[in-house]
Amino acid sequence: MMIPACPLADLPRGEAFRLQTDPPVAVFHTEDGEVYAIDDTCTHQDASLADGWLEGCEVECPLHASKFDLRTGGVDAPPARLSVRTHQVLVEDGMIYVKLSDAPPNLPPSCAAARLGGIAATGGVA
């Protein structure tokens, strides 16, 4: 399914946008002009990668600084151990579209538990 994310013009280079899907998706516009989409939730704990530190093709989690490769979702730096799911991106007529992946997401344990109706995820992020 292709989901319209936002107009490319609204997402400056070096910035990220959070798509409120379930689970949410982060769309990044790199300094080099590439656009990538990955699951927004860090695979380590419940942090939003759209709030992270974007450098080149890598995003650093805002919490414990795990680094993920935006192209592959692979972990470039710990403490995360699982890769983050990537999604296909299409830019057409100035609009960014995201094609959600069919692969299962690697959500962190606290989030997965919350989703299964268990304990609430801790730490309400402002």
Partner: protein
Amino acid sequence: MRSVAVVGASLAGLSAARALRAQGYDGRLVIVGEETHRPYDRPPLSKEFLSGRTAESELLLEADGEDLGAQWLLGARAVGLDRADRAVRLADGRTVRADGIVLATGAAARTLQGGHGLGGVHVLRTLDDARALRADLARGGQLVVIGGGFIGAEVASTAHELGLDVTVVEAAPTPLAGPLGTAMGELVSALHADHGVRLLCGVGVQALSGSRGRVTAVLLEDGRSLPADTVVAGVGARPCVEWLEGSGVALDNGVRCDAAGATNIPGVVAVGDCAAWYDPAVGAHRRVEHWTGARERPAAAVTALLSGGAAVPEPPRPPYFWSDQYGVRIQFAGHAAGADSVTIEEGAADDRSFLAVYRQADRPVAVLGVNRTRPFMRWRRQLAAPAGQRIGAP
């Protein structure tokens, strides 16, 4: 350089080994570590691991199948360094000679004077410490935490979550005044009271009393006695550098290094909690005891090591750490010590959700985020930008 020995097999040592391979070093690599465990992550030891939410297998820092082509000597303690032939002497009598040496022996928990030998009295630094403490917390009852620093506060928060009755005792008038300054130290440590955890400040511990070999109470200097089933001393850490005494490596609250981790001995660099790097931003040597420093700085030290000091690595980012207490995310970057003002720029202290900026003569020098991940990251980037490119607010 044909051989490198890394001494200390935790975050800083592993990060140095990874940086060596990433920077093209393909010679012999020996990693020496006193603990028998593969490198593991310490922050969860006072948080998710202590509470039981995280399993031991999730603490591992190596990726599945990761192979650095290294020889691991685990359970081996280094006891000396001979600078002349760059040889590390091990407690078991073996010697590791190498062209380059990375010192990454970290820090060890300080212990209470006089608390020895009583059951139920803990420190928290290693996985073994955490296993033992976890087992004692499972008995429930009353916990007294000595020291209101970050580790003490996190243990208090976790034990409270586990249903224990918790008291924190802090000798200083305000906890966390060192890293956060007095005003913010007070705000952050107010989290204890929010959750019904007692915080006693400005009073030292006189003695521990026990019966049948197990602690029963903590006696305070003002005469009070706090009943205790379990006691945790969170009274700081000291760098593990005794083994370097007399080696000629300059020591001064840790291994004294330049701004890229080089020691006074050519071919020897130091990283992580055991190292006091020169920090140009404060004009002094500082031992940074945070996870992110131990993860990032080894890359710079390895660049210096491999180039024989010829290459000038990028300066490290300002020190950053986080702490999780009572479900609240605390994040800090920069240096609070030199600040002459601190103002809350977003949110409100009463909501336990705010962002505070520390300034020195109007220049931002540090930032504290409490449940403010997004703006905190912007400020942190701003602090890391070269001085000329900084603006007042991100």
